[in-house]
């Protein structure tokens, strides 16, 4: 069996090819690299769940996909976007006007906290009309689409359109924002913690709605969250970020039941979950690294029970064994035994 280095993790028709992408900030204490030379392919039409704890670089990954890293952050590398109709676009090689047009028209985004995304002095309808006309869409046809989208999201279209943002509850405005992001019929929707401030029931309901909309429209969704269970059953594939790098990527079921990276396994064991026996849950020892001072070698080695000298010296690449499930670990073969998955044991027992 030959270990092969892979960028793709078995993606056939990538809509995004992310290569060697870094985001860095100059700080008094030194250069802070908040995304460290990551590669990622995103399959057309898939839901990719990007999971990471605070300070793992997950929001930077979202901003990078939109070429929207804010100053003084510096974004380097290559991101190729391949829309369904139209030529491939080298995203980081475009000027700001081009990029603005690609954003929303082709790559839309929904962030946490809809309230701050809406202008409080404008009605929801005015937001839709403005978005449509700025991007030269047929406004009336677009408003028809908006009404349809809103009712698909279980909102009373006319009433919501007439409202101002403060008149809607958190869940309603978050759904209105999703409708606004979809009204230009983008191919990709990037969502950064879109349900974070919402209640459990609303979160789950919105997740179901996102799943239906993605199915219906062949939408590619990048769903970024710190909440692994939330995205676990939504995403087709899961990508796990630790210390500004992807440490694991693979089909959701495989990552959940057979995670290959010690960090992913520790994270699964540390996540409060109704099905995991409480006595078996374990916190992850140690703390996440400071972006100015990321450990040499494998960045997880100070916290890893499997780590040895190799891990201290060499940063393992993200590799797979020819299947579509990749991990960045020198000791993938030993991990299953040394970091047992508590939930997995239970389900196997049953």
């Amino acid at each position: 069996m030959t270990m092969q280095q892979t960028h793709t993790a078995a993606v056939d028709d990538p809509i995004f090819e992310v290569r060697d992408v870094s985001v860095s900030f100059d700080m008094d204490r030194g250069e802070s690299r908040v995304l460290d030379r990551v590669d990622m392919d995103i399959e057309r039409g898939e839901i990719l769940g990007v999971v990471g704890e605070s300070g793992s670089g997950k929001s930077m990954f979202a901003s990078a996909l939109l070429d929207a890293v804010v100053d003084p952050g510096v974004l380097t590398g290559d991101i190729t976007f391949d829309p369904e109709d139209g030529p491939r676009i080298d995203l980081l090689d475009r000027d700001e006007t081009d990029i603005k047009d690609i954003r929303w028209r082709q790559i839309a985004m929904v962030f946490q906290g809809a309230m701050s995304s809406f202008n409080p002095t404008m009605s929801i309808e005015a937001h839709f009309r403005e978005t449509l006309s700025v991007h030269d869409y047929d406004v009336e046809a677009g408003m028809e689409r908006a009404r349809r989208l809103l009712s698909e999201l279980y909102l009373e279209a006319d009433q919501v359109l007439d409202s101002h943002p403060h008149e809607l509850s958190g869940g309603m405005s978050q759904r209105a924002l999703i409708a606004l992001a979809l009204v230009l019929e983008p191919e990709v929707l990037v969502m950064d913690e879109p349900t974070a401030a919402l209640d459990l029931l609303m979160q789950r309901s919105i997740i179901e709605l996102i799943r239906e909309i993605a199915d219906e429209r062949d939408l590619t969704i990048v769903f970024i969250t710190h909440d692994l269970p939330l995205v676990a059953n939504l995403a087709d594939r899961l990508a796990v970020l630790y210390a500004f790098e992807f440490v694991e990527v693979g089909p959701s079921d495989e990552v959940l039941t057979g995670a290959k990276h010690p960090y992913t396994r520790a994270l699964l064991n540390a996540t409060p979950n109704l099905d995991t026996p409480r006595e078996e849950m374990r916190p992850i020892e140690g703390a996440a690294p400071d972006p100015v001072n990321v450990p040499e070698g494998c960045s997880y080695h100070p916290r890893c029970p499997v780590a040895d000298d190799t891990c201290v010296r060499e940063d393992p690449p993200l590799t797979d064994d020819g299947d579509d499930h990749a991990a960045a670990c020198h000791h993938v073969d030993r991990v299953t035994e040394e970091v047992p998955l508590t939930l997995q044991e239970v389900t196997v027992d049953e």
């Binding site: 309901s205 996540t271 109704l274 099905d275 939930l343």
Partner: protein
């Protein structure tokens, strides 16, 4: 009354007047029933988790339990002493209000905001010691604070004691807030979404710490969360209880495993459906069991059982009166007619869907 009970809530009501004037709808001042007729006893060394959606009144109920929110009806008692009668000096006051307030502490969701940014950890933690242990000198206080910091894993304590809140991580700030509450030797700590702001992987650690200290300090916890997984973890490990709140009412309460293994209220079942599960096989993948996604306006709650507008099991009988809590044995209580085999509910017709002018949602059944 059981003399082991620390806090006892008796038919507590908290109604707020809301002035509708800035908002375009409404008009006259309206009453929000934040908490409505809740009774709950919290014994010594117990953990009770309260779970519900935002606006269900769980925080208001929690604040009422620790004597920082005055109820508009019913009574709150601390070891048998009516908290607000003590405050007003009414009747024969056995326990002074000051002492009650010191015995009932709180840790908030946002520890950054609850610590004074201009005070070092040492400085913040000295205040409760001065209050509770006037006899301690500076040296003894420093010793005690260092001991507590080591205890919660903040090593070396000399270093952490000198830091300001902004030099601590969120988890460390929350630990300091927990120590500060514990140094008051409280009988009950209200932990209001105390782990919700922490990273998923840090939550177990923080909850384990709370349980560990609960043992040592003989403290009860009232743990408030919108997250069933967290509530299940902390209440489960402590062999405690869980209470489910909906629009100001306690709709189900009981020993944690009993409630989770055999939920009786349709709302509890809906919360369990909504709780994400890491087990791919456990996911039913089904669509929402709720008839409506949005919570009704609390200023204008539905009549009868307040959940009937969203409840998948609702029948005509549910629109009449609010069901009383039924005791199912072993402390498991539920307020739902379905728990009563002989109730008219079972012969009552299913609820026809009605329009909803206020929350403006389309019922799932009609939207399909």
């Amino acid at each position: 009354m059981n003399d082991e009970t620390v806090v006892s809530l008796e038919n507590v009501e908290v109604h707020f007047e809301s002035e509708g004037s800035i908002l375009p709808f409404g008009g006259d001042s309206e009453v929000v029933q934040a908490v409505d007729g809740v009774s709950l006893d919290i014994p010594e060394n117990d953990v009770v988790a309260l779970v519900g959606e935002s606006g269900c009144g769980k925080t208001t109920l929690g604040k009422t339990a620790i004597g920082t929110q005055r109820p508009t009806g019913g009574a709150v008692k601390y070891k048998g002493q009516d908290v607000w009668k003590a405050n007003d000096g009414e009747g024969d006051v056995q326990i002074p209000f000051e002492e009650i307030r010191q015995s009932l502490q709180i840790i908030h969701q946002d520890p950054g905001a609850s610590l004074n940014p201009n005070k070092t950890v040492q400085h913040s933690l000295e205040a409760p010691l001065k209050l509770r242990h006037g006899e301690m000198d500076t040296f003894e206080r420093r010793e005690r604070i260092h001991e507590m910091l080591s205890r919660v894993g903040m090593e070396p304590p000399e270093d952490y004691a000198k830091r300001f809140p902004h030099q601590l991580s969120g988890g460390e700030q929350q630990r300091v807030a927990l120590i500060r509450a514990l140094l008051m030797n409280p009988d009950l700590i209200l932990a209001d979404e105390a782990v919700s702001a922490l990273d998923v992987s840090l939550r177990i650690d923080m909850m384990d710490l709370m349980l560990d200290l609960q043992d040592t300090f003989d403290t009860s916890f009232l743990f408030i969360s919108h997250n069933l997984s967290n509530a299940s973890y902390i209440a489960g490990k402590a062999d405690g209880r869980i209470g489910i709140m909906y629009l100001g009412e306690l709709v189900e309460i009981g020993p944690i495993d009993e409630v989770l293994n055999d939920p009786q209220h349709p709302y509890t079942k809906a919360l369990m459906w909504a709780t994400p599960n890491l087990n791919p096989k456990a996911d039913d993948g089904g669509s929402s069991p709720l008839r409506k996604i949005d919570v009704p306006d609390p200023r204008n709650p539905p009549t009868g059982c307040k959940f009937h507008t969203r409840c998948p099991e609702a029948r005509e009988a549910c629109t009449g009166e609010m069901p009383d809590a039924m005791d199912l044995g072993s402390g498991h209580e539920v307020a739902c007619y379905r728990a009563d085999d002989g109730h008219d509910y079972w012969s009552s017709p299913e609820l026809a869907d009605e329009g909803d002018e206020l929350t403006g949602t389309v019922d799932e059944s009609t939207a399909d």
